[in-house]
Symmetry: C2
Subunit: 134 residues, 2 copies
DNA sequence: GAAAATAGGATAAGAACAGTCGTATTTTCA
DNA sequence: TGAAAATACGACTGTTCTTATCCTATTTTC
């Protein structure tokens, strides 16, 4: 319960890696997967997602790989999660999928109070950047 | 991702119900399940967990049910979660199940930084009581 | 043209979760 | 004293989510 997905963890590890090495260095998925002992195929997909979100830049072909294009301090954890997961990290089903997703929506008395906690978590994810986890 | 379980949601709804009605009133699982349109059997289990944790008092037999025994302001959300879920709400697997649970533990670079967010969430759950969601 | 890398779809195995069922026990009350 | 109503508890099922792997195509370098 309340777990972060491995995909997000792997994404954060990879981005922290980029932030820690010399700026502009190209890294391959293989390099990172070996260094941190994470599954190569899964990490590759995560990096592809991050590339789609323009958080990193991809280069195909031999000698290809990925490069960080923004300064680590401008990459918030919320950006990373949004890029990797199709759904935002929501405490309640209805927050993510709307009123129709929960059959007790109309009778629910805790939706609004839980919103406070949700807001707090959102704020934390949005205020913390990759630069702060190096 | 990052979802609260339905069990916890149902538990919070039930406790908010107790906090909203007159102090000392006995309620049955059936009453609450009907009022909030929640699955009866599942709610019953949740109430049993809350009773085991002494958050509510149970009475068996006809005219039995549950009563709130503490003041709503002294029942923190963290207590409720701990009573219902066997595991505390942890962002990372290793926080809950120890170093052996994650194969990349030794190579993990994000464990400590994520701890800040974990701490923040813990604090929020511990500072918010049932009285505040009525 | 071979090799190394990203891109992306498909699939399978596993775990977690929600919900249901069945039965025992306790207590009230007619 | 027996039926009824409620908690207590374990087992089971079906679904969804998550993780991991596999396979193929494409791009680019050398
Ligand atoms: S309506 Fe209430 S119970 Fe349903 S998902 Fe939203 S917060 Fe949870
Ligand atoms: S060691 Fe790192 S990757 Fe593994 S569970 Fe803990 S935080 Fe997540």
């Amino acid at each position: 319960m309340l777990r972060l997905s491995k995909r997000v963890e792997y994404g954060l590890i990879a981005l922290r890696h980029f932030a820690a090495i010399q700026e502009g260095t190209v890294c391959t998925a293989k390099e990172i997967s070996q260094k941190y002992n994470v599954p190569h195929e899964l990490l590759a997909k995560v990096l592809q997602k991050l590339a789609q979100a323009r958080i990193i830049q991809s280069y195909q072909g031999v000698r290809g790989g990925y490069v960080l294009v923004h300064h680590p301090s401008s990459i918030k954890i919320s950006h990373v999660i949004n890029a990797i997961e199709h759904e935002k990290p929501m405490l309640a089903e209805c927050y993510a999928d709307g009123p129709e997703s929960c059959i007790i929506f109309d009778d629910c008395t805790i939706r609004r109070p839980l919103g406070k906690i949700q807001k707090n978590i959102n704020h934390f994810f949005h205020s913390m950047s990759i630069a702060e986890i190096v």
